[in-house]
Symmetry: C2
Subunit: 384 residues, 2 copies
């Protein structure tokens, strides 16, 4: 079984805590037993950083924990420069203790980086989704990986409902007409529908999937869900969705499919050419989960042929999406950069969640159990 | 009191009905007592007309009532050409009996046109909203004006919820980044919010407003409504919205305002410079009702200054919106052409509703009471 680096460290941190004079004195030393080097990788906000005091998830505002960390003698390095052998992140890999990053601008934590990171103990995701980490390598190295479970589930579920409606209503070409000086109602209306009466299936009905189903209920749709587990009958009845044990029996019934699963070795490439060919012609797909659940080219081909009537999501492989990513140019897409989980409200919640976990880490306390992705060398169940 | 042209006509129609041989013989004569000249003004679908068999609301498919009308000996002229003294519609004004049009491509029925239309008896709106008709002139001339009440209320309410989310999430600049090859999460996220916890007020809580409130309920917002009448307590409790008797007390509380009133002399220009100045800074406004409820320039100024944080709707003044309409070019708009009520599902419903009213008109029967806008020289209550 893997060494528990974090446990040993927490013990050291714990024994050195409670002495604020000492902490203040060691603020600039970075080598005292209790002092940690914490690196945060976020997106740059530049001119936008000052536009909203609650815009916490960017490099400039850095979750608003700098003063708190530094007042306890810790070092806090923040950067958006995360790719390639000469990036800012790479410089700090050999001696950082904690790496914080987000799904919106993820620091990819490979087995190679983990090997180099001799002091690394803790990987925190400010948000939800830790697939940017090689979780097996992290488990083997005895690291702890945790995220702020729940911090942006409402944000993502709301965004999914927006994307369903955007596709069902054919909003994007309508708005495009406005900005290009055009007016052609027919060019929009010939494939604009009500959501009412349509069959919506969610692949995965965890926290986000359930919140989506609850919000869909008043729309009078036919709601289906596929998951490893059936909900308890009371919840299922309250949500008004029908369990489908066999994914491939559910999918061809759906007018609209929403992806609500983590990216794992089981779900990677799940929507490939063959599976897409078996969907209802003109199906609408919303995917705010992870892009690699889809076969990139199969989605392009489906949108081009009309087999997929519309595709919307905010997740890309890789991120940031390169300028020549084919999803930027395929027809009937309503894509955005990765934003659904980084609303201002979500940022306030995940900044607070990261601060709480750091505080517990310094004190040698456990995190809330639902936050762990890797603990004591073991992956959380959904990643196994 | 105004002459009841329609009643006399219905009587003639009634006495000549039930004789299909005679009807078939008079099919191309157009002058027999029971034969009517019906003109439909719709938008052209061109290449889109054949793309969907249920795309009924365009000139090409013309509500799918041509065969039915002609088999009864009526003449059915359909056009999209509706403006100016030499347009196709103008040619038929002197002798048409029935004019059917839609809010999406409205035939404007002015007092002058009513004066010229000596045979006109019935004005039907395929959809909801008859403000394209000079209702007072229509009432004075003894015409009947009716619409397919309820035919697209679900369609419009769903679309309003989409627009609320599009504004709250700052979707449009996000999508714009995708198509321009850009990636700047911060440029979207600094003003993207959850809908949860925000205060949403609807100005008007008729059918559409209530359907919107019902769909908003699971989003855990603070829901307010202003209307002439308070809902009965049971419905209010079920919807979870609070009645605000005084509009100007409600508006400054709202993060999001949705307009759900007909255009009348009372509501025209209601959102002028002064009223907009009193709203919460950065307020989001959704208006699928009618554009003339807003002062056009005051909306442009509000969006430019940031007093209005976002404006979305599908209604314009006039329609089609000219290429230089300033709402096309103002910042933070998420506009489309007039499409929310012309989904394929709505088209099926309003085509059926128009056919039913024509059938009743030919038979001299009353329409469903909620469909009347002008009956027996009297305006429906919401237009008074």
């Amino acid at each position: 079984m893997a060494m528990k680096r974090v446990a040993a460290s927490a013990l050291r941190a714990f024994t050195s805590s409670g002495n604020s004079t000492s902490s203040l004195l060691t603020r600039h030393l970075h080598a005292s037993p209790g002092s940690k080097k914490i690196v945060g990788v976020f997106y740059d906000a530049k001119e936008y950083a000052a536009k909203n005091p609650n815009f916490l998830g960017c490099t400039e505002n850095a979750l608003a924990i700098r003063q708190w960390l530094e007042s306890q003698g810790h070092q806090y390095i923040v950067t958006s420069d995360k790719e390639g052998p000469y990036c800012e992140l790479e410089k700090h890999i050999p001696d950082l203790h904690v790496l914080i990053t987000t799904p919106f601008h993820p620091a990819y934590v490979t087995a190679e980086r983990i090997k180099k990171a001799k002091n690394l103990q803790l990987l925190l995701t400010a948000g939800i989704g830790s697939d940017h980490v090689d979780l097996k390598a992290a488990a083997d190295a005895g690291l702890t990986v945790a995220e702020v479970t729940g911090s942006n589930v409402v944000s993502v579920a709301e965004d999914e409902l927006m994307r369903i409606l955007i596709l069902v209503r054919n909003f994007v070409p309508g708005h495009h007409q406005v900005i290009t000086g055009d007016w052609n109602v027919a060019g929009i209306a010939y494939r604009a529908y009500d959501l009412e009466g349509k069959t919506v299936g969610t692949v995965g009905a965890g926290r986000i999937g359930r919140l989506l189903l609850q919000r869909l209920k008043p729309f009078n749709c036919n709601l289906l869900y596929h998951d490893r587990l059936k909900m308890d009958p009371e919840l299922e009845n309250q949500i008004g969705a029908k369990f489908e044990e066999d994914l491939d029996k559910m999918l061809p019934k759906c007018d609209i499919i929403v992806i609500n699963m983590p990216l794992t070795e089981k779900t990677r490439g799940m929507f490939n050419k063959d599976r897409i060919a078996k969907l209802k012609k003109g199906v609408l797909i919303v995917n705010n989960a992870r892009a690699a659940i889809m076969d990139t080219q199969a989605v392009v081909d489906g949108c081009s042929s009309g087999q997929i009537g519309g595709y919307s999501g905010d997740v890309w492989n890789p991120q940031p999406a390169p300028k020549d990513h084919p999803w930027r140019y395929m027809p009937n897409q309503a894509m955005t950069p990765h934003i659904s989980g980084t609303t201002i409200d979500a940022q306030i919640r995940y900044a607070a969640g990261v601060k709480d976990m750091l505080d517990r880490y310094f004190k040698g306390e456990d995190f809330p159990p639902q936050h762990y992705i890797v603990k004591d060398g073991e992956l959380a169940s959904q990643y196994r």
